[in-house]
Amino acid sequence: MSCSETRRLIDAYLDSELDLRGALELEAHIARCPGCGAEEHGLRELQASVRANLIRYALPPQLAARLHEALGAEEPAASAVSEEKCPVAAMAVRPMRRPWKWAALAPAAAAALLVVAAPRLWQPRSEASVADAVIAAHVRSLLANHLTDVASSDQHTVKPWFQGKLDYSVAVTDWAEQGYPLAGGRLDYVEDTAAAALVYRRAQHVVNLFVWPSKRIGNEPLQHLSRRGYSAYCWAKDGMHYWAVSDLNEAELLKFVELVRRQG
């Protein structure tokens, strides 16, 4: 890693936003480069000072009292449930109101949701780690300027590129007409397995589609999760794992996923 690359990524490194490989490369560089080593030392000192000394302003007691009053006054008018989703892209839009009886049912619905979701909280650790690994691979591809090994919108260039690098074949399709142009391919690693990463673009957003062979036989249904602000869909089909990861909104990512799932 060069000095300029190190300086560009050093904040991401200190903030634990770099993946393991990037972090190791950066550490190797600062170990042998006194200038970048001093930079890292200075930033760590600043960070320690900030954590020890920056004021955390406490909530004034009179504000808590004012809020209690204000929210109490809100309640009758706000008894309808907003249809706006919580993520605030839609904050400026006035929410539509549902009939009041839906609001009365809401706590029951929340309880039902918890009952359904609760057993899933005890998922095997390894599967949570796959999600972390895949999302880390996505973040790494964005931050470390390593989006593609083979940059091409031509599926007939990208598909052969993987041959010889992987011991399985990957279907590569350009979805430009549907609004998801192919940007290229990259070799990545998930769970110590070489995975094909197909890179697609959607406006300013990047979608990474990871594909690798499944150790289990059989198909697995589509699942969605979001973590650290990223959205991911995963499924297994015909002995292959598929993970689509992006910062796209859920609906647009799902549209992409449906394209991929329909192709074979």
Binding site: G72, A104, Q204
Partner: protein, 207 residues
């Protein structure tokens, strides 16, 4: 593959907002208010701290926090809210920016204007707050003044990262900027702080 349901990922275990008066808000806010209390109100302190750092005085920070939380309550939909803390911080941030646009437009869009922030603009205000009276050291005083003197676009990214521990992606969503901009603003904020602290150290030691 068993994964967390989307609607519930990222939600921390419910914490009662007030330890001395558990259920306090729930009584005042039946129905939807209960989940608002459990999901959003625990982050009210973080919301106030962010407002206070963005606006740099107690009075405005209190008004804006109240406005933001009432607004959040109106828009709240507990079933699709997968990151209540980042969401509340976004509402607070947007309210604070609207206030700055209407009342102190001079403080906005100053990313490239070094002059406005070359003097510690909020020095007088800092001295009013009780927190400042108990500041232990010159280092502490200088650091807080240096952060207050950062342009607001840098200050928000810095506070969200260093005080709230948000990921770059979460900061990008809160501040509506690309992740690369988060990284570069953080980097420049830290460079400015280092420079400011290096400048002030001799004066601090002398006084």
């Amino acid at each position: 593959m068993a994964l967390l349901g989307c609607a519930l990922t990222g939600i921390k275990p419910p914490v009662s907002w007030s330890h001395d008066r558990p259920g306090h808000w729930g009584e005042a806010l039946p129905h939807r208010g209960e989940s608002f209390e459990k999901l959003v109100l625990p982050h009210m302190k973080a919301g106030y701290n962010l407002a206070r750092w963005l606006l740099r005085n107690d009075h405005d920070a209190e008004d804006i926090t109240q406005e933001a939380i009432v607004r959040a309550f109106r828009f709240f939909d507990g079933f699709s809210c997968d990151n209540p803390r980042a969401w509340l911080l976004t509402v607070v941030r947007n309210s604070a920016y609207t206030f700055l646009q209407q009342n102190r437009a001079r403080e906005l869009g100053t990313e490239f204007n070094e002059e406005i922030h070359s003097e510690p603009a909020a020095k007088g205000r800092v001295a009013e707050t009780p927190e400042v009276l108990v500041m232990r050291s010159a280092e502490q005083r200088h650091l807080n003044q240096a952060v207050e003197s950062l342009p607001v676009e840098f200050r928000e990214v810095f506070v969200l990262r260093e005080m709230e521990g948000l990921s770059y992606k979460e900061i990008a969503d809160v501040a509506r900027i690309p992740m690369g901009t988060v990284m570069s603003r953080l980097s420049r904020a830290r460079q400015r702080l280092q420079a400011a602290l290096a400048d002030r150290e001799p004066a601090g030691n002398a006084s």
